[in-house]
Amino acid sequence: MSVLVYAESNDGKLKKVALEAASYAKKVADMLQTTVTAVTVNANDTDVLGNYGVSKVLKVNASWNDFNANAVAKILHQAAVKENSSVVILPGTTDAMYLAPIATVALQASFASNVVALPESTTPFVVKRTAFSNKAFNFTQLDAAVKVLCIAKNAFGLHEDAVAISTEDFSVEVSASDLGVKVQNVEKTTGKVTIADAEVVVSGGRGLKGPENWGMLEELAQTLGAATACSKPVSDLGWRPHSEHVGQTGKPVATNLYIAIGISGAIQHIAGINSSKVKVVINSDPEAPFFKVADYGIVGDAFDIVPRLTQKIKEFKMQNA
């Protein structure tokens, strides 16, 4: 009857979003007066889950290395059956969003993604989620016996709540048909902070005038340990790769700090980044719509401001190191 959480890992290490999902699961378990069981696949550091309220870990040591949505969905399905779980919590990552609908069908469950707050009530089970590309919230009632939720990144945060934790090995038979999609190759940029993992994102727009001017932006990002991103026109013009395009039709951003440089703030761009906690805009045009949604703004020339800002942040980091 426990609340089940999928604790996602990467290279054997749990992701921060796994701990966030566990924190959420613990609060839901408290509402339902039950405990939390986590499922992990090829993760090593599972004991840390106990700090976030997980009482039991079902540890899967899979023979495959590449992520397979059907296989993980099957694991989650069988774990939910074994634990008799009525609520299954996942993070909102690319991989979790890939597998959750598959698991939902297997469980004949109700599904809600982009969940940003604890259930408003548990009978009926109602959650708040973002919709209309972050331009609104939608309260969804989940009517099936089993509820599957994907939690929006950074919306709920980490909440420590240490409990005693036990671990058991769990294995699930995966058939050849589950592994129908065969990964041939993974191309990953290494050594760079990805937009999905970043706590801070530094983003540039057409105001930067050309791809040759991205050096100062990358230096600012490096100083902040941030990922770099860009507006849609910039990726359409080929100044930056599509993987950096953030906005309604690009990647969503939900960071602690989003710095927009030379981005006017079209409604589609704002929709994609609006879940970020603190937004800073640097733009020479005081009428740029971004100033309406930003927390802090500087009106001025990015080419003058950004290098000086990088310098100031370097000095600040030195003093506070």
Binding site: A136, S243, F291
Partner: protein
């Protein structure tokens, strides 16, 4: 190759979002509707398969009669025929079940959906559809090639992409990358004229149960005004980010 492209009829990306009837319904007043952008990338890729590999492209939408102009636009872009399942799409599970019924009757080799619609952003229909049909599934698909009965796909992952292969039938949850923005087509006059006479079949829904219900909507709380910092006083910005916003 028989391709089904599932499209959603969604508010244009520039739309202002408002609600009506005590915040329980989306206010369609003054809203322009378009083909969901993620679906449009998939549709354009399907038309490429039609032109290069002789594929037959059917577009499908679950919705009322008011969504037909969106289907006609897809026909004007080049789809061969269209299906509208005549029911209001209020739950992703039920929508997937409706589409699955059509797929079981028609044996499509390739089913292309957008990875999410820009209205409810549920992101669930393609995965559910694949699971219901027992077909292979690739989500967040940014490249798709088919040779014979084999597909090669690229999936966007955090910080890169994952190349995979599988056999047909296949369901993809597509997005930008399937084709580029510049490849999207604006229907020309000839396309619009021929679309008028292309077959658009209206099917009554099968009895799928809803598993969720949207009970109400809320707009984000109005934001407090931006704090402007002088370009010559960057120390103030550092101070605000550190002491007030606590993000530095």
């Amino acid at each position: 190759m028989k391709i089904l492209v599932c499209i959603s009829h969604v508010p244009d990306t520039t739309s202002k979002i408002n609600f009506t009837n005590g915040d329980t319904e989306f206010d369609t007043n003054g809203v322009q509707f378009v083909i969901n952008p993620n679906d449009e990338f998939g549709l354009t890729r399907a038309i490429w398969f039609q032109e290069q590999q002789g594929a037959h492209v059917t577009v499908l939408n679950v919705g009322g009669a008011e969504t037909e102009p969106t289907l006609r636009k897809a026909l004007a872009i080049g789809a061969n025929d269209a299906i509208r399942i005549n029911t209001n799409p209020t739950d992703g599970f039920a929508v997937a079940a409706q589409i699955a019924e059509v797929c079981k009757q028609n044996n499509y080799d390739l089913i292309i959906c957008g990875k999410e619609s820009l209205d409810y952003n549920g992101g669930m229909v393609p995965g559910m559809l694949a699971a219901m049909l027992g077909y292979n599934f690739v989500n967040s698909c940014i490249d798709l090639k088919v040779e014979g009965t084999q597909a090669t796909t690229a999936r966007e992952i955090d910080g890169g992409k994952e190349i995979a292969s599988c056999s047909l039938p296949l369901v993809v949850g597509g997005q930008k990358g399937l084709v580029e923005e510049k490849d999207l087509r604006i229907p020309n006059m000839r396309g619009i004229m021929t679309a008028r006479t292309k077959p658009l079949q209206v099917m009554e829904p099968s009895g799928a149960d809803n598993k969720t219900k949207a009970v109400k909507f809320e707009k984000p709380a109005p934001k407090s005004a931006v704090k402007l910092v002088d370009a010559n006083n960057l120390d103030q910005l550092i101070d605000l980010l550190h002491n007030e916003a606590k993000v530095l």
